[in-house]
Symmetry: C4
Subunit: 387 residues, 4 copies
């Protein structure tokens, strides 16, 4: 339809119309009864904003960098605190797949995290990213590599080194997927990659059979090849094979966040994997305060970044996460909807919508500067309605 | 349809049928997903009344002034504690627009707040109001002027002085709109004023272009001309250019309420701008107790009036707000529905419905007199159901 | 339809089919938006039962009086703790109207409270009741008279004396209706009594005009004739003109319950008038504990009975009310549904359904005897779900 | 339809299509308005999981016994903590009825509890179970006998002895059914057993008439023959006539759980009889913590097992129950859906689905071993959403 695409949900609906049922369901679905999937977005809506008035916010109109954030102790800058989460198989949405996403990241001046399960090779994504940077030389965009550790440690090591060599600037180690969750839609659809696509980075790691058949093949592949015996000491191993900053993705409790910090990570992503792994976990925004308190209470030397993803669909959601202590947020599905609707430009649109909404909320809430761990959080109340 | 119009919601539905989609949506809509818009009315329904019995309430039948209120330290009297909130562009609803509303205010004996963004000139509204007062000489109605401070301070000063000269009796300074909120319906409809209307008071302030096009033009106008750098010290400037009482509209926290009192205002309006600015703020009735406590705890010399608006649709809502500490309430959309359905008479009907419902509630709850800061609030319990 | 009528809701639906819209709406409706009307029943469902097992409950099968209750300090006995609430105009439901209800009360062995606004004369109802008692000599049924105090005290005195002379055994003074509530359905329907009916007990008190027209006429009658200046001292006046026990109906707060006890009443009915007076009051079952605590904490000499009505539709509701401290419950609309569906037999059926359900619940909850102020209330938890 | 049957709800829908309305309603329905029936499943969904990451869970892939549990102080082993609850009349779902269920229990390596109200004789079920054990010699499956104590104690004694002689390994004494609950669907359907089936174990105890007619006949039979005078001292009597472990089924409060332990039982089942007895009781998972605390706080010599049933439909539900202190869970209706859809194989499928889901949840929550009373419960939070 010719409806104006004004917000993320508009893009979602338009993407639903464009994608095959199999691809749409793969992108959209969550574990079991999708209770957490629904709650991930609903929880944000229940958090209340407390706008402050009569604050001079006029510089937000004139200074286009007024919402930019500095991450990983200054090694990274994003034009506003929204990063692209790692999601598998972008070529299901767009012919150029991850190449389009990488170019969009450059245009929007943010980080793209590339999934291990991408349908484009690490090196090709890096090349496209560099080309785009030449066209947009003021962009501070970076590529980070999302890693699954396989039982085959030699293969894993090669993956990491390929990413480092190609210019990726951080490793995002996903720790909540020793198995894939029970996503029933994929089973009902007999989900499989089309013949002209493959998980390019895993091609040489026994993937052939993983693709030959349907979703159980992919799940079997994971069960057979992903390492379910990982413990915190494996962070050490990763440090030995790479000098990149390490961000651990999939933390849902204060206890685990403290273990992560003790293991020396540079950042953590509070994430329930977009509700795709376990149903009826907490939503991420619910546990963020517990995790922020646990990490900020540790007085460790280096600043450990705290990111969050899951259900962020509005500028107000971004401000809430930031005000509750996150350094930045990640978005997963919104990027896929943008990609499906308009390729690279679609992803740029998604990011611009969120940026526009975020800036408006920042101004209307009376934030002279972005809230951070040093400024009071009083503009957001982590509570349900008082009634 | 020929359905009897018994309550505010009946008028809402009838207005929906009469108005163009563009005008209806402009009046009705709220920011983003309209969660706060829905909650503004729903929150009132969750507050419970605790009726007292065997109280002599017979004088309410005989004394028609038994529910009148005295405001602004005795400078204003309203026949019952419901005032007309400032809303833009009444001529979208009724040919005579703000003239009809002003006349209705006189007939109902209450205050009309005229928006800066009216489709009728300040002086014309004042003239109509004076004419009507001659016809209804016992009415205590007053006009108050709602002000947006523009970057062009000279122009703003002229506006204020025109209002003061025309006989307006108070200034209502709106402080929650450094930008306009994200009202998507207006964008989808390509909202613009019809050719035969304009924002009369802003005509000479670069408005031409603001009207030439669609909603973004209006929003751009606001972004370009409204002053987003206001701070509490600007109240001083306003005091210098006018001797009218100043009421600050758009307070949502106890902290800001105290700053307002310190800045010397005569009243505040607890308001989230009818949920049109930021989505997922608190509802106003939720934060009223916090604000009443903050203001009443300050022991400043003059009494500062506390008003509230947002979602008031029933006589019970009015009593709840009063019992929780408000001096009076404002209604926005209900007036527009009345105007659309029946012009001046429609607005009078709306006010009479609320007055009848309010008086009945007052009697049935066993209020010998209206609750105020000196009488116990026990007839209202600021809590959800106990179950 | 030929659906089996198994429970109160079945009778409600069948009655809806049989009654005219005007009569059905009059019976069914509540004040304003009917939020309290809906909550009155919903609140009961949220209260949780905690069944006890391995209690000898076998006597409930053999002893048919095992659930009977003694009221008004032994002056009254009911076969089970459910009484017939006073409701106006039974002849809208059944040709023989209040006569049918009185006979049903006898057959079921319970109290019928006759409304001042009955469509049958006090003396005729009393006569029918005596006739029926002769046919069912073991029945302990009594008639109580529900009283509205009119401004015309002489007329009111005559009403009371007529009731006392006719053999009524208690006065139920309704104190929550200085005006009638805003029941919009009646206004929309232009509610009026059919020509062949009248409010028999008020005929000589200016009722003619009250009936000539529609609902506003009735409301006007109430406004003109009911005494809105009543205070607790008027209980004294009532004591002077009658020796019958006095029960005050319409108490919703602990404060008022204590005032009632101090005024020397014999019982109170916790009631919001079936949600017909003020919308968004508490539900009655919510405030029962507060009132029980207030009354039981007073150590006054005579036992004051506590009744409750509003929303009781299941045997579990009855047990909950009893376990939370009520001596018995009243039912209003269920009786009207029974009357509409099957006249006298319909009302008997309603009472038998509730009795059967109540006894089953009593057994399954492991109550050797009915809970009362001396036995622990642990079978009922006055709380929402723990989740 | 040819929809893939992936989860318990799929089997439910497929069973609904296959069963007669009378049989389906008998299996599905609950007491009164079925509020507890709906809540039994809903409550589980509201409990939140707190997954732990970076725990070595790889042995769950290799060790197929990693989720097996030891019950009744080592006398019983189940392949995973899900047992088959006693449910009446399996032949309504499948020609071979309880024979199919017994065989499925063997194949899945779990306990089957046979209802007193089975449509197959005790001895025949035992024989089938033994045959199946020969075919699956590694299975640790056992039969337990669910007992209703009849007024005719001699007959009851014979039943118990027949079960003991036939090789049943424990007695499950149901204590929440002194009467059957008010299941209205059965009354509306005129529920009765088809001519070719009977309650085989009760045949000689006056059952003839119980079957001749419809549901009231069955209810009358219960009212006439089940013993409603049972008290805790009757446990002694049962101990005298049998050496089998005794499990008491139907405990809903901490008080009763302590009485059970004092009476010397070997286990209790926290159960509201699948919401078929009293409506608006608590859900079982809500009261589990209270009961676990009461029992575990008693320091009695032998370990008393705590089981729970009611609403378990997902692997996450099983883990929640275990983490909150249950030794194992029972499933009632899911087994009936499996039986209706696919006989013995259907039941095996149901158990395998739950086992697969349970194992996946165990791994993804980072449980190196199953939680038990000695390991912290922090993976499950017994609370609503924090928002
Ligand atoms: C289709 C899809 C594929 C994903 N693939 C990966 C992946 O390969 N690696 C990973 O760490 N997370 C993956 N995720 C999780 C995302 O990184 C992110 O946590 C999640 O999408 C955030 O929630 P949102 O989609 O609500 O924004 C995937 C998510 C989706 C929706
Ligand atoms: C159509 C519309 C236009 C409005 N225009 C103004 C305005 O020009 N100035 C202002 O201070 N508030 C404006 N408001 C906000 C109202 O003054 C008031 O705060 C709000 O409508 C109260 O909520 P209610 O509509 O639920 O009663 C407007 C509201 C509406 C609905
Ligand atoms: C149609 C109708 C008429 C009523 N008339 C009277 C009345 O004349 N006097 C009175 O005290 N209460 C009256 N009531 C209130 C009832 O006595 C009682 O409080 C209420 O019906 C209880 O709630 P329930 O209908 O949910 O059981 C009336 C209620 C209804 C529904
Ligand atoms: C159709 C049906 C028949 C049942 N029959 C019995 C029975 O004979 N004895 C008994 O103790 N429980 C009986 N129950 C209760 C179950 O043992 C168990 O408590 C309940 O089904 C668990 O809830 P679920 O069905 O939600 O899993 C029955 C339940 C159902 C649904």
């Amino acid at each position: 339809s010719s409806r104006i695409l004004m917000n993320i949900e508009d893009y979602h609906q338009a993407a639903k119309e464009k994608l095959s049922k199999m691809a749409y369901d793969y992108y959209r679905s969550g574990a079991d009864d999708e209770i957490t999937l629904q709650e991930n977005t609903a929880a944000f809506r229940r958090i209340k904003l407390r706008p402050k008035v009569f604050v001079d916010v006029s510089h937000h109109s004139t200074d286009s960098n007024s919402c930019s954030v500095s991450l990983l102790n200054g090694q990274t800058t994003c034009s506003f605190p929204v990063l692209i989460a790692p999601t598998a198989m972008h070529r299901l949405a767009d012919d150029r797949g991850e190449l389009s996403t990488a170019r969009a990241a450059v245009r929007a001046g943010t980080v793209m995290m590339l999934s291990t399960l991408s349908t484009t090779r690490i090196e090709d994504v890096a090349h496209e990213h560099q080309q785009a940077l030449k066209e947009y030389p003021t962009s501070t965009s970076q590529l980070w590599f999302q890693l699954y550790i396989l039982k085959d440690r030699e293969f894993t090591k090669r993956l990491v080194q390929r990413a480092e060599n190609a210019g990726f600037r951080a490793l995002v180690l996903t720790v909540d997927a020793s198995r894939f969750g029970n996503r029933e839609a994929d089973h009902r659809n007999g989900f499989r990659l089309p013949d002209n696509m493959q998980l390019e980075n895993l091609y040489d790691a026994g993937l052939k059979e993983a693709q030959s058949d349907h979703v159980s093949a992919l799940n079997d592949y994971v069960a057979k090849n992903l390492d379910a015996s990982l413990t915190w000491s494996d962070i050490k191993w990763l440090r030995q094979i790479s000098r990149l900053p390490i961000i651990v993705k999939g933390i849902m409790t204060g206890e685990d966040a403290q273990l992560a910090v003790q293991a020396g990570v540079d950042g953590i992503v509070v994430s329930n994997h977009g509700a795709r792994q376990i149903d009826t976990t907490y939503t991420t925004i619910e546990v963020l305060p517990e995790i922020v308190a646990a990490v900020r209470g540790m007085h460790n030397k280096k600043k450990v970044d705290i990111y969050i993803d899951g259900g962020i669909r509005r500028g107000t959601d971004v401000l809430k996460a930031i005000a509750l202590g996150a350094d930045a947020v990640l978005i997963g599905r919104p990027v896929l909807w943008g990609l499906a609707v308009g390729g690279c430009q679609g992803v740029v649109n998604i990011l611009e919508i969120l940026k526009r909404e975020f800036k408006l909320t920042v101004m209307l809430c009376g934030c002279a500067s972005l809230p951070n761990s040093n400024t009071p959080l009083s503009i957001v109340q982590m509570s349900k309605s008082k009634l």
